[in-house]
């Protein structure tokens, strides 16, 4: 009896793994192996150009981080970027979604119009925005019209990152708007009706019903937002032609990793930096989970 059980179990397992093998192989080759290899590389000094060599250097790559001023600039830029972009895009997404959830005329038109920025390729977006940010461009023209000071958005280190922030909020908020919109339609109507009977006004209903009901979605939106902002690459890459300039103002973590990996060909150090980025993102996610869970207990 036991034997046949094992046999059938084995057969089950075999067929199960056979069905899963394409996924296992693909994930293994393109996900697990690269991760393992990146961790392996981060403990080595790698020379790829010319004579290929791997030299085990222990934690040298990680020690080097402490004394790398550009890493701290990149981390600061990235953190600043995330701190401003994530809240702005989350609030904007929630506002847009609430507006679109009302019984408006031409609602579908607005839904499509608001969503369009997300569909546009980010490279194209950056190029268009670089025209808008041009010293003689649209943005400065508008600022001048209302009497505000104008900036050299592309060349002035103090505003270059802000330019990318504005662009990214504008293009990512609609994506999260759609997620919020779907969640909004899931909130049972009777909650609002009960609130009406209790004499709540629109603001109360929004703050006391809508926002708490959306909390799981907000968690998701913030986590994805933070991961997205910490991985900012293409915009600042195109914006600064790969240099992270002016004056390192648009240097982000991933751009720094790119520079070390493909400009300096220092794969070991670049892998170590990628590892650091992963750890930072994980830590932030853990902290967020803790915060959100605590509130639930209350």
């Amino acid at each position: 009896m036991a034997k046949t059980f094992t046999k059938s179990k084995l057969r089950d397992m075999a067929s199960g793994y056979t069905f899963m093998s394409p996924v296992i192989i693909i994930l293994g080759c393109f996900l697990l192996l690269p991760i393992a290899y990146a961790i392996f590389l981060s403990f080595h000094k790698v020379n790829l150009l010319g004579t290929v060599s791997y030299k085990f250097t222990g934690t040298a790559n990680f020690e080097r981080m402490l004394d790398d001023p550009r890493l701290w600039i990149a981390l600061r830029n990235t953190a600043k970027y995330a701190l401003i972009v994530v809240p702005s895009q989350t609030i904007l997404a929630l506002l847009l979604a609430s507006i679109l959830n009302m019984k408006l005329r031409y609602r579908n038109f607005f839904r499509i119009a608001f969503y369009l920025p997300t569909v546009t390729s980010s490279a194209v977006l950056v190029l268009i925005f670089m025209w808008i940010y041009n010293s003689n461009g649209l943005l400065n023209y508008l600022l001048e019209l209302v009497g505000l000071p104008t900036y050299n958005w592309l060349g002035d280190p103090s505003v270059a990152l802000l330019g990318i922030m504005i662009m990214n909020v504008w293009s990512t908020a609609p994506l999260f708007m759609v997620i919020y919109l779907a969640a909004l339609q899931d909130i049972p109507e009777n909650l609002y009706e009960a609130a009406d009977i209790d004499g709540a006004n629109a603001w109360h209903k929004f703050w006391r019903i809508t926002v708490p009901q959306l909390k799981p979605v907000t968690f998701y939106v913030i986590v994805m937002g933070i991961i997205g902002t910490f991985q900012l690459f293409d915009q600042s890459y195109i914006f600064s032609a790969g240099s992270g300039g002016p004056n390192n103002a648009t240097l982000t973590m991933v751009l720094l990793i790119y520079q070390y990996a493909f400009k300096n060909l220092d794969m070991g150090y670049a892998s170590a930096l990628a590892f650091l980025l992963a750890v930072v993102i994980m830590l932030i996610t853990v902290v967020q989970r803790l915060i959100f869970r605590e509130e639930r207990l209350n």
């Binding site: 996900l31 010293s135 002016p246």
Partner: protein
């Protein structure tokens, strides 16, 4: 719950690693597959050897001229088929990655400033053994070949052309202001004063258009006896002598406000700024001449040598060579092509339109650019120009210098602080990378 948390975390780690990896990978993959603009896709016929040649993109006119040289070569050498690829963006990143992957072209362009690093890595073919008497090595201007020599004197590339910088000036603006083109830097500052046109607080026309980057300002470091690097190739530009030259550039922007960078007026580079008549003078190279002539035909301009600083003449020289991949499988055929492109005949066609200056004395004499009204100043510059080259670590030094120099240029920090920081960061990075 616990399990799902760890799964979430795990997948987030995986996701973040993969996404950051992908960002790099796909970018690189994208550019690595060459956008072969002018390449010939047909496979080589029987008995033909295929040689791939890669370069960065340039104007359609230049592209056409190169195609003409390649066609001439193929008519003379029916046994060699040339496959020409254009690498549109981030040229050196793509070339290095393809060298690592053993997918590099047989021949490719190499800027003098990147040459020491590649020579050090031993990925280029030394060319001394191929040189024949007919190739006439002595015909090259010595500095242009020396830029591609290793420490032990082997030659790794032959220069295809060179460019220097000269002062471009707008003839009409100068006539209106009643002044002559400047010959010293003091005269340049006074001229800029007169040529700058303001509308309220906003500058409409700058006297001088500047390029606040190392490639254009290296000769200013040397003007008062400063130097970019020391004997070990480490950055050594944070000295009072170097700053004296650089402060001429900075002060004219921050204090006198008679000079600006292209992005201040919404232009992409100096030539565009000059063509749009938002700068009365710019310091640019050969490449700006055909650009301004074809895009801004109404602008009447002249060129003179870069004004003297500290009574010394100075300018920059940018040299580009053809080099051969050490792992090339078609070395003989590749040399045939390389020696034709850098030979007297090929170079004459290639430089005939004056997009760049020839590096062979005989070709220069034959084409007579020294007597050309627009190119004479550029040719004159080559005798005293500073080569855009300074050891294997120059790309690192350049990146740090440019970043900090912009900070000083935009008034974010003092020049002394900026240069000190740039030098420290660059040297740290060089040491850590060794």
């Amino acid at each position: 719950m616990k399990k799902s948390a760890s799964v979430t975390l795990g997948s987030m780690l995986a996701l973040s690693l993969v996404v950051s990896g992908c960002g790099n990978g796909s970018k690189n993959g994208e550019s690595a597959s060459p956008s072969a603009g002018a390449s010939e896709s047909a496979s080589p016929a029987k008995g033909q050897v295929e040689v791939t040649l890669a370069g960065w993109g340039s104007s359609p006119d230049e592209q056409q001229l190169l195609q003409q040289v390649l066609d001439e070569f193929q008519t003379k050498n029916p046994d060699v088929k040339v496959k020409y690829e254009v690498i549109a963006d981030q040229y050196m990143d793509v070339i290095k990655t393809r060298l690592i992957g053993n997918e590099a072209p047989d021949l490719f362009y190499l800027d003098a400033f990147e040459a020491p690093a590649l020579i050090e890595k031993d990925v280029l073919e030394p060319l001394d053994g191929y040189v024949t008497p007919e190739f006439d090595l002595g015909d090259f201007e010595a500095p242009t070949v020396n830029a591609f020599k290793s420490a032990d004197g082997k030659i790794y590339g032959f220069p295809k052309d060179t460019s220097t910088l000269a002062l471009f000036y707008n003839k009409k603006m100068f006539a209106d202001a009643g002044i002559e083109p400047p010959t010293t830097w003091d005269e340049l500052l006074t001229a800029s004063e007169k040529l700058t046109k303001k509308n309220g607080n906003k500058v409409e026309v700058y006297g001088l258009g500047q390029a606040p980057e190392l490639a254009r300002q290296m000769f200013m470091i040397q003007a008062f006896g400063g130097q970019l690097t020391d004997d070990q190739g480490m950055a050594a530009f944070a000295t009072p002598e170097a700053e004296k030259g650089l402060s001429l550039v900075i002060d004219q922007h921050t204090k006198a406000k008679t000079a600006g960078q292209p992005s201040d007026v919404g232009a992409g580079w100096g030539g565009e700024m000059f063509g749009q008549q938002k700068a009365a003078m710019v310091i640019e190279g050969n490449w700006a001449i055909p650009y301004i002539q074809s895009n801004f035909p109404d602008v009447d301009f002249g060129t003179v040598e870069v004004p003297t600083v500290n009574d010394k003449k100075g300018t920059m020289a940018f040299t580009v060579a053809y080099v051969m991949n050490k792992n090339s499988k078609q070395k003989e055929a590749a040399w045939k092509l390389l020696s034709y492109l850098t030979g007297k005949e090929g170079m004459k066609t290639w430089t005939s339109k004056g997009f760049a200056l020839p590096t062979r004395k005989s070709v220069a004499a034959e084409l007579g650019f020294d007597k050309d009204p627009l190119r004479g100043a550029l040719v004159a510059g080559s005798s005293y120009a500073t080569s855009w080259q300074a050891g294997a670590a120059l790309p690192t030094i350049m990146n740090n210098f440019n970043n900090q120099f912009v900070a000083a240029y935009t008034g974010g920090s003092s020049l002394t602080d900026a240069m000190k920081k740039a030098q420290e960061t660059a040297n740290k990075e060089i040491k850590a990378g060794q």
